[in-house]
Each structure stands twice: as C-alpha cells, then as structure tokens.
C-alpha cells in the first residue's frame, strides 16, 4: 500500500548542487538510490559533494557549469546519456526595498531565477521526452520555489516576482508534459539553514521577525526540503503534478 521513496535506476540532474539546498537534494536523491549529476560554478564545492555521495555508496558525475550560460549547459546535456529527474534549483536573492532595486540586481536575479530556470527546464524536458520508455517509467521535474512564490515579503519584490513566475511555469509545464508522464511540481520552503539564509540572519532583528512568522517557531532544515524533493522525484508521488509542496512551518497558512 505504501510506496517507498526509491530512485534506483533513475538519473537525476541537480543545478546549484555545490551548496545549500542543491547539495542536500543531490545527497538525498543519491541516498534514495539515484545516479546524480551535479552542476555548480565552483569545482571545489562539487568535489566535496561527490565525496559525500561516494561515502553513502551513491554515484555521481560532476560538471562545472553556470546555468545562465545556455551554450555551456547544452554541452553538459550532450555528455549525459540519460535523464529522468531534474531538480531545477540554482537561484539567488539580493533583498532590496522596491524603490531602491538597482537595474543590475533586477537583471541578475531575473536572468538566474527565471530565464535560466526556464531554459534548463526546457532543454532537460526535450531530452526527457525522447526516452523510449518514458511513458512507462515517468519523469519528474522539481523547481525550487519558495514560500515567497506564494506570498509577498518586505525587500523581496524581485524574488517574489521570480518565484511567483516559477509557480506559474510549473503549472504550465505540468499540463504540457503530462502526456509524456513527466510530472512537474515545486517545493516552497520557508527560511532554511543554508549559507544564503545565514547571511540574511546576521541581522538579528530580521531573524527574529521572520521566526515570528513561522508558526512552528523554527527554520526548516536542509533535510526537510531535500526529503520533500525526493518524495516528489519518486513514484511515491506518481499522481502528483502541477502543484507545490509547502515546507514552510505554516508561514503561508496565515
């Protein structure tokens, strides 16, 4: 009756896999049995992640790649023989008050969080639909969204715009890829203990204010998000598509 999270014989590509959530997802997927292809701009980070994966008896292949460079990403895809799962994770944030957002930051965030997310998803989908047994074994694409893809927050207007966009993209993709049995979902975490959030939380006033907004009274762990991602990647969720798994401790329920 219960469908275990099992990714044996599946190949998963994880972008932004050098640090934070991407790293956690890559390791969790490997722990569930997947062969993992990890991408990041920083080779030393990727080597560390692949060493952890090796320790858990998993297998990985690493590529140094900036996902905003479409040609580079295409080259990576050419070197991969198979793809069943995409964790479209690479992203960033530069909080600024709406009236003060610089053109440079808006362009940088939108290029990474939206344009690259779209391009990576499109290229991977094109590869995934070609697989002969795709309809039978299915495929799964998970976009790393955020609770800020569901509600607004101070200083997060560009990030809000980007992540609400990703939520829309996921639903559109879900409709179009369903005939191939490729599912598309997002995960919407609250603040997670990642290097990116640690930086924001140096501001104690901000940290306390944000914690007050999480009914469960704690930030999420990387493993909370990575487990949700693994659940969506596996056949445990084979009828879940076009939706979001909120890992937000109740933030958006208010």
């Amino acid at each position: 009756m219960f469908k275990k999270i099992n990714l044996k014989n599946r190949t998963a590509l994880v972008t932004g896999a050098g640090k934070g959530l991407g790293k956690a997802c890559a390791i969790a997927l490997a722990e569930a049995g997947a062969k993992v292809i990890i991408l990041s701009r920083t080779k030393s980070d990727l080597i560390k992640v692949s060493k952890i994966i090796k320790k858990t008896k998993g297998s990985s292949q690493l590529f140094v790649c900036d996902v905003t460079n479409l040609e580079d990403f295409k080259k990576v895809l050419k070197k991969i023989s198979r793809l069943d799962i995409l964790i479209n994770n690479a992203g960033n944030n530069r909080p600024q008050h709406f009236t003060k957002v610089t053109q440079e930051n808006m362009e940088y965030l939108t290029n990474l969080n939206m344009k690259a997310a779209f391009n990576v998803a499109q290229l991977c989908s094109q590869k995934m639909v070609k697989e002969k047994n795709r309809r039978k074994i299915g495929g799964s694409i998970i976009h790393m969204s955020s609770q800020l893809g569901r509600v607004g927050c101070e200083g997060r207007n560009v990030y809000n715009m980007n992540k609400f966009g990703v939520e829309g993209l996921a639903r559109g993709m879900a409709c179009e890829l369903a005939p191939y049995n490729i599912r598309v979902n997002t995960v919407c975490p609250t603040f997670v203990e990642t290097p990116m959030v640690k930086k924001f939380f140096k501001n104690k006033k901000f940290k306390n204010k944000m914690l007050k907004n999480i009914p469960l009274g704690r930030v999420a762990k990387e493993s909370d998000v990575a487990t949700a991602v693994a659940f969506l990647a596996a056949d445990s969720s084979e009828m879940i598509t076009g939706t979001s798994l909120l890992v937000d401790g109740g933030w958006t329920a208010q």
Partner: protein, 254 residues
C-alpha cells in the same frame, strides 16, 4: 536515516483513522501500519473492522477497533478522551450525495454538513485535546479533503462547500496547534476509485469527464493517497503544516 533523506517511519506512533473500513481510510490504515504505526480504526461495519484486523496484524502492530458513528459525539468523546496513546489522526470519514444545486435536498445538505464538516471538526478537536493531554512531543493531523476543496465540479456544490471548509479548518488548526508541535495538513485527491465512487465510474460519461480533466492519464489509486498521508504523518514532513498535498494528476493545475 540518511544524511539528508529522512525516513518515513511511524514505529511507536499511534494513529486514529475514521472511516477506516473502506476506501481511503482502509488504505491509510494499512499504509501507516506498514510504516510501523499502531492503528485505532473507527468504522460502522463490524465485519469490515474484523477483516481489517487480519490485514493490520500482518505488520506486527497494535490494532484497536471501535465501532462507532462519527456523528455520535458523546461516544466519540468518551472513547478518545480515554486513549492512552495518540499521535496521529487521519480525519477521513466523509460522504457525498451529488445533486445539482437547484435540486439539492435539505436532508442531503444536512447529512453532508454533519459528516464532512461538523464531525470532522469535532473529531479533530477531541483528538488534538487528547494529544496535548498525553504530552506527546509531536502530533500530525491529516484531514481528507478533495480537489473539490480547491475547485468546483458539477453537482458538487455541497461537497465543495464542505471540502473548502475543511481546507480553511486545516489552516486555522495549523496555526492554533503549532505551539504544541502538532502539524495539520490536508490531502486533496482527484476522484479515486473506491467502493463509494465505483458507482460514479460505472457511468461512461462520468468516466470520460474524469479522464478529460486529468492531464496524467491514470486514475488516482488508494495507494497514491495513502502514501501521501503516511508521509505527512511522519517526521519526514516535520516542517509541513497548514498546507495541502494535491494528488490529482494535474486536474487543478489547468
């Protein structure tokens, strides 16, 4: 327990499931037992409560049946407030009487409100109070909702009214119970093939309606829903509260 992949393990936990004799409730009971949880099964059919015992006992967990109508508040209260162990509630008992809005009978409207709304509220309240009284470290309540808790369907006005209500209740409960570390979520399945829906699927027009509205070309199974319920019940979902897992093959993404 992996580094980033959390186990879905309910060993030592006790789950109360309403409407446990048939369909989704029965599936949830079996899946939770499979994950190691002890089962308290509520239902009105003694023969089925007995046959469920044989299935649950296979997993070497405790089984406590209780023959009771969820509308019988006094008996429910007596039973629940006497429980020595309780961590999880699968608030499943529900029904439907499809009628077009203009012809909805007063008696059907009242039946649905009593079972799907009032009894759901009462049982959730009784169980939450008991989990707090027993000083459990954590708790998880899963309300069984529906895609008709998110969108409307033909001849589903009362059902939608009750299930939209359950969605609201879920979010409200999540906020009030967060400080006790009791998480509250719902699952929203598409039309699942169960003893109750069998008669709907017998109608060819209805069959086509479901198929045409489900981008992933499959019917949701009891096992699909039971798996999501078990995930939410476990500590693998320890940061998920006040939200819904939508298991609809893309129905509501359109």
């Amino acid at each position: 327990m992996g580094i980033f992949l959390k186990d879905i393990n309910l060993k030592g936990k006790t789950a109360l499931i309403t409407g446990a004799t048939k369909g989704l409730g029965r599936g949830a009971a079996i899946a939770i037992a499979e994950a190691g949880g002890n089962i308290i099964a509520l239902g009105r059919n003694q023969t089925e409560l007995n046959s469920l015992k044989r299935e649950i006992k296979k997993f070497k967990v405790n089984y406590l049946p209780f023959n009771c109508d969820v509308n019988d508040y006094d008996r429910m209260k007596l039973f629940i407030s006497d429980l020595k162990k309780l961590d999880i509630l699968v608030n499943n008992a529900g029904t439907n009487i499809p009628e077009s809005f203009l012809n909805v009978k007063k008696s059907s409207m009242e039946t649905l409100l009593n079972v799907n709304t009032k009894a759901v509220f009462n049982i959730a309240q009784l169980c939450a109070n008991q989990i707090i009284k027993l000083k459990r470290k954590s708790g998880s309540i899963i309300n069984i909702s529906s895609i008709f808790g998110i969108v409307a369907g033909q001849k589903r006005t009362v059902y939608s009214m009750t299930k939209f209500g359950v969605e609201g209740l879920t979010k409200g409960m999540a906020l009030d119970l967060a400080k006790y570390n009791i998480r509250v979520n719902s699952v929203c399945p598409n039309i699942v093939l169960t003893p109750r829906t069998k008669k709907y699927f017998a109608d060819k027009k209805y069959n086509k309606y479901v198929k045409d509205n489900t981008p992933i070309n499959k019917v949701v199974t009891v096992s699909d829903v039971a798996t999501s319920i078990t995930f939410l019940a476990s500590e693998a979902a320890s940061m998920i509260t006040g939200s819904s897992i939508v298991i609809d093959g893309g129905w509501t993404a359109k």
